[in-house]
């Protein structure tokens, strides 16, 4: 298929349909309204169903139901709406159901604003709702990668029976870029049959009960252990990151994801003439976090600069992954204020020249 110019939100919707998703349940919120709008006209064309739910609470429980009966399903929202969905996310994770959730992040806390941020990082990487669970979180840096990761997200969700987040910011959702959908895409790996799905009990398999209630503490602990084993497998097999820049010793290693990594790459190109040795590690899975790749790159660097559109949420994972082996510096904006390439290159130069203060974990 030829490349097509598409808005991020629409490319996400099209990618879901091409992944065999025939169901979408969602509630309007800026800046992701183009996803439900796109699904509302495309799904009927492919024999699917679109429901505009009465709330994000309801939408997230509708995907719980659709996933329970074995159907591929997704929803999308933006930060305040994703907060409302956390109850269902906890149930979905606990009940081992595959769903895909797209979060086109906007600023917060509270109602915040509608401009891009990355301030839902902690929610997306540490669980988000109640109880001990994690969700696999993929962070695209372009419209093309958003489309590709949505396709992967459905496979990963089905394989691990877990919610998978695609964590984009308002820029990913709203900008237009050329995008191509592969015609012959194969699943990431063979997917197991959904023998657990509530498709009606005819006696040819055990009765399907989708449930997260375990009143016996031993059984509840066993269920937790089962989930943790799956998270361990994700940590071993699903970590994704990309490295850009010098391969040898570095003056500065930048850690950035999503659109901030795009800005950083431009900054790195702009400052080639300075002779500074700069590299960037871009987490593609923000959970599981690319801890080993980061530690390896940090070995070669004199200092680390974390750049993100939050007050320093990924910063904590960088500290934990590098265990204070190198000084860590921080550059961030909040509230929808974006980072410009000039600002990133200035910060890199400051770190290299010793003009920037190291930031330490403050609890």
């Amino acid at each position: 298929m030829a490349k097509k110019l598409m808005k991020g939100c629409e490319a996400i919707g099209e990618a879901a349909i091409r992944a065999g998703c025939k169901l979408f349940f969602g509630y309007p919120i800026t800046p992701q309204n183009e996803i439900p709008e796109y699904m509302s006209h495309r799904l009927p064309q492919v024999g699917g169903a679109f429901v505009q739910a009465e709330s994000e609470l309801a939408a997230s429980n509708m995907i719980y139901g659709a996933a329970a009966c074995g159907e591929r399903v997704f929803t999308s929202s933006s930060s305040p709406g994703i907060s409302l969905m956390q109850e269902a996310m906890s149930y979905i994770a606990a009940s081992e159901l595959p769903v895909v959730v797209v979060n086109i992040m906007r600023s917060g806390p509270g109602l915040g604003g509608i401009l891009p941020t990355q301030s839902d990082y902690a929610q997306a990487t540490k669980g988000g709702g109640h109880g001990d669970y994690r969700v696999l979180s993929l962070a695209p840096w372009s419209v093309q990668e958003a489309a590709d990761l949505v396709a992967d997200a459905f496979d990963l969700a089905d394989f691990y029976r877990t919610p998978v987040y695609v964590l984009g910011d308002g820029l990913i959702g709203q900008m237009m870029e050329p995008v191509e959908f592969p015609e012959d895409r194969k699943p990431l790996r063979p997917l197991p049959p959904k023998t657990w799905a509530t498709t009606g009990w005819r006696g040819d398999r055990p009765r399907a009960v989708v449930n997260s209630l375990f009143l016996d503490p031993i059984k509840c602990e066993q269920q937790n252990a089962k989930l943790q084993a799956r998270y361990a497998q994700m940590r071993a097999e699903e970590v994704r990151s990309a490295y850009y820049g010098d391969e040898g010793d570095l003056d500065v290693l930048v850690v950035a994801y999503g659109t901030v990594a795009r800005v950083t790459l431009t900054a790195m190109e702009d400052m080639k003439a300075t002779g500074l040795k700069v590299g960037m590690l871009r987490p593609i899975t923000v959970w599981p976090f690319p801890r080993d790749a980061l530690a390896e790159a940090a070995e070669r660097a004199k200092a680390i600069l974390v750049a993100e559109l939050s007050c320093g949420q990924m910063l904590e994972d960088v500290w934990l992954s590098t265990a204070s082996m190198r000084p860590v510096h921080f550059l961030g904006h909040q509230g929808g204020v974006l980072l410009a390439p000039e600002e990133v290159s200035a910060a890199i130069r400051d770190v290299a020249a010793g003009r920037s203060a190291e930031v330490r974990y403050a609890g």
Partner: protein
């Protein structure tokens, strides 16, 4: 074959749609009767193999242990949304929710109203016993005026807590076609009538006609502080006058809802 060789046949037994379990419900609670009615109707209409039930949060949270069909346990109040997800994904399945008054009429009010208003082709079994049972006797949206609960120690004061919500009437007020009725299970005659209402509700689903909701008045001897037989009389004396029994809305038939202009 009976050993005697006589031509006896079983006239009563456990419905296929119910598993043989020791009940966890309190003595005198009528949840068991309502479970049985739902199971009998699923059997009689041949719907058991296509049935998927939604268990609520509340006393009936363990409904998945009793109904011999596929089941989904839902978060508090969200069963109609979960049922929507299943029915839209698999319209061939027979999808029902089983919810109490706290679940459906308090925390889940938005989900039930909007599922009904969308006309989801699901069947809602709404068990109204005028109290929170599992959490040990707090006020429900359906608790009667002056009824004593653990959070209304001097009785429900409508000036402070509002009046009890009549769910069947509320849902009937929606313009979307539906089958909405209220039954009770405190006397044999009403048990028979309620079973008929459930049968009609599931038939509306299998014929893809409309959304259906059957509100059923039920007992809670434990939290009402009454012996089982007195609890049955309490339904008749206190609940039935406030919650009238009957069909409130039927596609192409009875519609007690206000007419649109």
């Amino acid at each position: 074959m009976p050993a005697s060789g006589c031509d006896a046949k079983a006239v009563f037994g456990l419905p296929e749609a119910l598993d043989a379990r020791v009940t966890h419900y309190c003595p005198g609670c009528t949840h068991g009767v309502i479970h049985r009615l739902v199971a009998e109707v699923l059997d009689e209409l041949g719907l058991r193999k296509s049935a998927v039930g939604m268990a609520p949060v509340g006393c009936a949270v363990l409904a998945y242990d009793y109904f011999a069909c596929d089941m989904v346990q839902c978060s508090h109040g969200r069963a109609p949304a979960v049922a929507t997800g299943i029915k839209r994904g698999r319209p061939d399945l027979t999808v029902f929710t089983y919810q109490g008054d706290g679940d459906l009429a308090s925390i889940g009010m938005a989900e039930i109203i909007h599922a009904a208003n969308r006309g989801e082709k699901i069947t809602v079994v709404f068990v109204n016993n005028a109290i929170y049972g599992m959490t040990a006797g707090q006020m429900a949206p359906t608790t009667l005026p002056r009824q004593v609960t653990t959070t209304t120690p001097d009785g429900r004061d409508p000036d402070l807590c509002g009046h009890p919500i009549r769910v069947a009437e509320l849902v009937s007020a929606l313009r979307t076609p539906a089958f909405v009725a209220r039954g009770a299970v405190h006397v044999p005659g009403e048990i028979v009538r309620t079973k008929d209402l459930l049968r009609r509700a599931f038939r509306h689903q299998s014929e893809k006609t409309c959304f259906s909701l059957i509100e059923i008045l039920s007992t809670c001897p434990t939290n009402w502080g009454l012996p089982p037989d007195e609890a049955l009389r309490w339904v008749q004396q206190n609940m039935v006058p406030y919650y009238p029994l009957g069909v409130f809305k039927e596609p192409g038939g009875i519609d007690r809802a206000p007419k649109p202009l």
